[in-house]
Amino acid sequence: MISAATPKAILIVDDEPSIRDSLQMFLEDCGHQVKTAASMAEALKLLGREPFGLAIVDVRLSDGNGNQLALEARALQPQLRILMHTGSIEYQLPPELVELGLGEDQVLRKPQPDLMTVLRRIETELGCLE
């Protein structure tokens, strides 16, 4: 199901441990490879080291802005799929990210009442459900 040619690993970037860890547990239970980062710096380090199929990026990070991270991540790994994760209802995608092809579908709003919805979105992004 998972092709070796395309990396399927998922990077979760969130400074909130309860969200980061529970999401990791959920996705791993669902059979995904998951790495996590608690900060922008940490995330960039991981992204520089290994390839990821998808990054779930919290907008507000302790050491930076998720939008910026998304841009830099894409610069590092042009194939990387990105989902923005935010607790702010007023959050709107910045034009730079829209240029990269992100849309409202690529924004996850916290809290998500049903994790299965999130799972479907992730697998769609990774091409698992095609």
């Binding site: 909130e16 441990p17 309860s18 969200i19 529970s22 999401l23 547990m25 959920f26 791993e28 239970d29 507000r60 935010t86 607790g87 702010s88 209802i89 007023e90 709003r109 916290k110 809290p111 998500q112 009442p113 049903d114 994790l115």
Partner: protein
Amino acid sequence: MSAPAVRHSSPGSPATVFFLLFCLLLLGPVAHSAAPPLQLTNAEQSWLQHHARTIRVGMLPNYPPIEFTEQGRHQGLTADYLRLLEKRLDIHFRRIPARNWDELLQMALDHRIDLIGSIQQTPQRSRKLLFTSVYVRLPNVIITRKGGPKKLTEQQLADKKVAVVRGYASESYLRKNVPEARLVAVNSDLDGLQQLAFGKVDALVSDLSVASWNIDRLGLSNLQASGFIDFRWNLRFGIRNDWPELQKILNKALDAIPQQDKDELFRHWVGLSSEKPLNRREIVIVALALALCLLLVLAIGLWNRMLGREVRRQTLALQQALERERNARTEAAGKEAQLRELTDNLPQTVFETDCDGRITYVNNQALEWSGYSREQILSSRIQDFQHPDDQPRIEERIRALLNDDDATGRLHRICLADGRLRNTLIYARAIHSGNKPVGLRGILVDITERQQAEQELRESEERFREIFNGTTEALFIHDAGDGRILDLNHTAEIMYRGSREQLLASDIDKLSSGTAPYTGEEARVLVEKTRRDGQQVFEWHARRLDGELFWAEVSLRTTTIAGKQVIIAGVRDISQRKQMEEFMLQSEKMLTIGKLAAGIAHEINNPLAGVLQNLQILSLRLDSKGRTNQDATAETGLPPEALAAYLKRRQIPHIIDSATEAALRARTIVEDLLTFSRRPNRKHPVDLATVIKTALKLASTEYDPEQNFDFRHIRIEKRMASSLPTIQGTSDQLQQVVLNLLRNAAQAMIEAGTEKPTISITLEQHDQHILLQIKDNGPGMDEQTRLRIFEPFFSTRLGRGGTGLGLALVSYIVHQNHGGSISVESSPGRGCCFSIRLPIPREDS
């Protein structure tokens, strides 16, 4: 013997001789000369026309039966002649009363009157007056006591003491023709008769008619007419000397009166046919008759002498009786004079009139008040002083008063001498003679000033009423003692939705909400405080008569009206202001909350996300079907069945569900709060009917079996006007509004177990607004709840799924995002009705 000359014949009175004598005279044939027709020249007619109502004739009050005043009316032979003349000439004399002959004559000489009714022509008088032809001749008789010689001639009066009225033409006649007679001048015929009766004089020479009238009236049974003197009264009308026209006219008119009528008048008043020279045959008959009389008299004289003593006794008795009579008369006259003087000087206008309204008496006040002279008034009719418009009315009034129909005062406008019009009340009663009314006596009250004052008072009262009713404040006047409502204005009726009567019957308790501290008791405390400390201004929760409660600003102050201490309460309906204040307050609260929410939403959402995710993972990891879970149980050696049994026993899934639900609600709260800070989306034309239909569809899917909530159990009544204009707004938000209200109503009714729960929805246009009403027949709410219902976090369902934001959101969306308004009417047990008004956009915007 009665003198047939006299109207009042009293049977059994003496003087048979007299009687017979007159009877004989009456036997004489009366010559009827045909009266010439009345032919006036053009000049005379024109003169008459010009003076038709202005000729003044003097009236003598005390010369009966020729002329006298009886019950205010001019009576007697002359009076009747005047009436005949008036009829004949179609004129009206103005009658001016004189007190006596001297005054009358003086008035004529001064031209204060134009005509004298009965006057003897003398050379002296002829210099000042003109005279008509003689219209009545009256013989002068010699009157003596009974028992004296009969058939006296004037020459036989020589050496006798003869009474004659002072100033009468007869006096000078006797002085000239019987110089031997000792003349005694008396004041009047009556005086002369009395002196004769008492033996002070031997004879009286007097006019036959006057003498017989008085003899009859006084009942002087011991007097007799003993002969004639060769001097008659030849009565004429006297005319002012510059009016020869009138002299000619009256002469023609007198000539035109048929002899028969003249005789009739003479017979009526004097009792004799007009005197004519006796012919031979008549003289013989008279002589025979006189002889017969003489015999009779002699017989009586003899009889009298036989009863001399008796006669003397009787004479004495008569003398005494006369003395008494005189005293009584003097006394009566004195009393009458007193009364007259009192009336004359009464500070009140007093008048008397005859039946035609002719004024016969007025007192001094009448002259002073009116500015007219006594002569002017006495020569006029009361009608002449009326405002021309009122004349028909006064005629009618006089008739009514004469019939005793109406003694109440009536308003009449009187024109004064200086031309001013005065409003007067005339009170009058008929004067009666026997059963017949002969005139009116009354008073006149000038009420012009009083009316003006009343008018001013009325106007002032009207002005006050106008202000009292016109003010936008409801005004109540309370009794300061017991708080009773004494008066109220029109605004009060509108504000309290009751009639004046209903409000007067109500009290402070009924007009207060009754919710502490807005009770009747507290109101009375405030009234007391007002009395003690002066004006009080406070907000009050009041009740209209239809039960609706409203906020009012009340000012109380004390004042005194008509000596009574009262409290004036001014009430201003401040519901709208209050509502606005409430709304502003809420609106501000909501905005603050919105801002706050926006600021903290992220901080709440993150931990919430953590909670929710962890709960889901917990739930997932406890699922025995999960592959990784199976691996884990296998590895740990925990039989999956045992785990499942344990979880079930310990209700773990339920606990997880509860926690999840709580977390989800927290998420909803945050979302709702964020609405307050979020700007509305772009507005579009919205059809409210569609919004309502959609909301109803959404609501119908809602049910909660655990709380027995099923929207489908509720009856929905819709009354929506068709083809209403659209409004500018956001359908999602308006849908949320309707849905919230539907949900609210449904929950309230189902929780209260309302029978036949019904929601009525009406949608209609009101001027520039669309009015949407959502009404239920649920439990309603008390005023405290009603007032706070739109406040954020105010909920009666907290802990039962309520967030306390539903109605706050509704209010916020309607007011803030759509420029509309929302209000709610409710009271416990009477359901609840939400009214939403949304503005219809103007065509040009």
